[in-house]
Symmetry: C2
């Protein structure tokens, strides 16, 4: 990662009954919207899954943004027909957590440490 | 990040009363053990903090490893006197979650997606 990139960490609950479907959608064999991530300057996008003590499953993502206008790029991404179709598949797998900003599907987390 | 790096995502609970202490320890103005991370091939180490629906606070980390023997490097890191001292400060801030492997302070999560 380049230190001039902005970093983002996000979290959302994953429905237990949707785990396999979500994994299949995100398998390396599935192109999904990977080309759109690159198009809109999103890099090193990694999603992790873990079950926490409340028994629920959570997805945690880390990605980096190399463009000049994140909000604009995310707006354009959200309007891409392929992305609209993608979110129609992935959103029903997830349950947004309560502690999030208005409009967020994935709640953005606070960065408390970084070392290149 | 280089695609030949191994990625790691981990999670641990952060005690609410230790949030400020933990942030202070990890402030960019505090050298901490940053030089040891570099020495043992740990890069792009980012820690995020968020409160989940159970009311507890969690730390989520993402980092990348560029060396040849991760277990060996982590063993050497764990024996560094500065690192031993560091963990004596940070471990009491944390509560390991139940869903973890033996010996883990931070529970390693499963990677379900990656796009460079």
């Amino acid at each position: 990662m380049m230190s001039n990139r902005k970093r983002f960490g996000k979290v959302v609950e994953l429905r237990e009954e949707k785990i396999q479907e979500y994994k299949d959608l995100h398998a390396s064999s599935n192109a999904g919207v990977r080309h759109l991530l690159s198009k809109y300057n999103i890099h090193n996008y990694t999603i992790y899954l873990h079950q926490l003590d409340d028994g629920k499953y959570y997805l945690f993502s880390h990605f980096e943004y190399s463009g000049e206008d994140f909000e604009k790029d995310m707006e354009l991404l959200s309007e891409e027909p392929e992305n609209v179709a993608w979110w129609k598949l992935t959103d029903p797998c997830q349950v947004p957590i309560k502690n999030r900003q208005t409009g967020e599907q994935w709640a953005r987390m606070e960065e408390v440490y970084h070392n290149d």
